[in-house]
């Protein structure tokens, strides 16, 4: 296999990993930007999405099952997110540390519930046949490069979600209210914006997107009670790196972390790569504490 082909293959992998990070981190970034809350149960929204994909495919087998699973997972995770916001997050809104602990507890409860319902080993979602192809190159400098369809699908889904959320935030009335609340909550409220409702919508949107990401994860490997955990740590890193709440920052940071992971794994094994990633993030934050995009008031811009 040609050097260039290999490198391009890794970069492609990096982008598809980045896609997952974007979907996992988007909700965290949105709700942190708006409400300054960190939802430790966010990973379990991925898990829920994965199990909902599994269940949907039991009901709707066949090639289009996965396309049905996506809205089901989105709505399911958004509803659970809304319940979590109403029952836990909102009640603890002035106490960030308590929120952290409470949502961590919720995370454990959800994992145990999944274990009781589906078993500890995990369930398998079979990718539909139309995602089983690969695009292979056999001539020229790209000879030996293979791009699996599933990975292209992930990229496409992430791009669509990101585009959709960006449109929602930047072009709709709801998005305008979100940005207004983000910049000056009391004044937005005094102008008639129901900031409580905005919080709820944004939180549910974020968990819904995580649910969608869970469907994608299910295409890549088994859905286990802890499947969300392996993505949530990089997602937190992405949010910190991105500048705590900015869409553009989150995207750039996802790509940085995705590429970093994919490229460093050429040289070292996975666990060393994790350590190096953490070191990279710490170093980056030392140099640029505000993250890729400086926020607070600029959060959710663009």
């Amino acid at each position: 296999m040609h050097e260039t082909a290999f490198l391009i293959g890794q970069i492609f992998n990096g982008f598809s990993v980045a896609s997952l990070f974007i979907m996992a981190a988007l909700g965290l970034a949105l709700s942190f930007g708006l409400m300054r809350v960190i939802n430790m149960a966010h990973g379990e929204m991925l898990m829920l999405g994965g199990y909902l994909a599994y269940l949907t495919l039991l009901v709707v087998p066949g090639p289009l099952g996965i396309l049905v699973a996506m809205p089901v997972a989105f709505i399911g995770a958004a509803l659970l997110g809304a319940v979590l916001e109403l029952t836990v997050i909102h009640r603890l809104s002035a106490r960030p540390l308590d929120t952290l602990l409470a949502t961590w507890g919720v995370s454990l409860i959800l994992q145990q519930a999944a274990r009781n319902l589906f078993g500890a080993i995990g369930v398998q979602v079979v990718a539909p046949s139309w995602l089983n192809h690969t695009i292979s190159f056999s001539t020229g400098i790209l000879s030996g490069l293979t791009l699996p369809d599933t990975r292209l699908f992930i990229l496409a889904v992430a791009a669509l979600i990101l585009g959709g959320v960006a449109l929602l935030i930047n072009k709709t009335r709801l998005g305008l209210y979100v940005r207004a609340v983000n910049q000056d909550r009391p004044i937005a409220a005094a102008l008639g914006v129901n900031a409580r409702l905005i919080d709820l919508c944004v939180f549910a949107l974020g968990t819904g997107v995580a649910g969608l990401a869970g469907v994608i994860l299910a295409l890549l490997g088994p859905v286990t009670p802890t499947v969300g955990q392996s993505y949530i740590v990089p997602a937190f890193l992405v949010v910190i790196l991105g500048g705590l709440g900015s869409l553009v920052g989150t995207t750039i940071a996802s790509i940085m972390v995705g590429l970093f992971t994919a490229l460093i794994e050429i040289y070292v094994d996975v666990s060393v790569a994790q350590v190096l990633l953490l070191a990279f993030v710490i170093l980056f934050i030392q140099i640029r504490p505000q993250g890729v995009i400086a926020v607070r008031s600029r959060a959710l811009e663009g």
Binding site: R173, L176, Y177, R179, A180, Q183, D184, P186, I187, A188, A189, A190, L191, G192, V193, N194, A195, R196, S297, R298, E301
Partner: protein, 236 residues
């Protein structure tokens, strides 16, 4: 009475700032709230707008008890707010700032939403020119015009103005004062204004309240009393 406050109290943590304030604004009137720095004028307006909680007392507006209504509900009931320091949304454009003001129209039966009313651009022609500029980049005078326009976009029945000419260039002050007079005469707006300049307060409002240490210590008519009688309560 369009607005009625009954023994309103407010506090920042342990320190009480408003002490049993009774005040009313009659439909169609302009009322000036005056007093030295730090006496609680802003706090009073904030509690009316719902930005700050009343720790005691009642607030009635248009016959409804809004004491426990959150800020957005008060805006939707028809209380328009132009805060001290303008508080435009810095990263939103002028048009977007005005559009946020439309949020006050949600669920109002009496008014229909039909975009930003043209009289706002008529009052503040400057806003048309700078409609796509980010509000954070505007001059103080432009921001003030935007803050007033934004409140008017919600078609309020009462407009709360907190020192609308504070820290603004003298020639722009005149423009803003002229626009405020037009808001009174052309829109028939009921206004509660915090104003440091007695001359303007006297020529603009029908009645006044003087605040001192969180209480209204004197009220009266600007028509029958002269500003000189109370200037010693306001100036240092």
């Amino acid at each position: 009475m369009l607005l009625e406050l009954e023994s309103a109290c407010a506090a920042y943590g342990q320190s009480q700032v408003l002490w049993n304030v009774d005040m009313g604004v009659t439909q169609g009137d302009a009322v000036a709230l005056i007093g030295r720095n730090g006496v609680g004028k802003t706090t009073l307006l904030n509690t009316i707008a719902g930005v700050q909680k009343l720790t005691g007392g009642r607030l009635r507006f248009g016959g409804d008890d809004l004491t426990s209504t959150p800020a957005h509900g008060r805006a939707r009931a028809g209380i328009g707010f132009v805060p001290q320091g303008r508080h435009v949304f810095p990263h939103l454009s002028v048009m977007e700032n005005l559009t946020v003001g439309l949020a006050a129209l949600a669920g109002r039966k009496a008014v229909k939403e039909s975009g930003i009313a043209s009289h706002i651009f008529d009052l503040f022609p400057k806003l048309t020119q700078i409609r796509n500029r980010k509000a954070g980049l505007l001059s103080g005078g432009e921001q003030q015009q935007l803050a007033i326009g934004r409140a008017l976009a919600g078609q309020p029945r009462l407009l709360l103005l907190d020192e609308p000419t504070e820290g603004i260039q003298p020639n722009v002050v005149q423009q803003i004062e002229a626009a405020l007079r037009r808001i009174r005469t052309e829109l028939g707006m009921t206004i509660l204004i915090v104003e440091q300049y007695l001359d303007f307060a006297w020529s603009f409002a029908e009645s006044y309240h003087v605040m001192q240490r969180g209480q209204i210590i004197r009220s009266g008519s600007t028509q029958t009393e002269s500003a000189d009688e109370i200037s010693h309560l306001v100036n240092i």
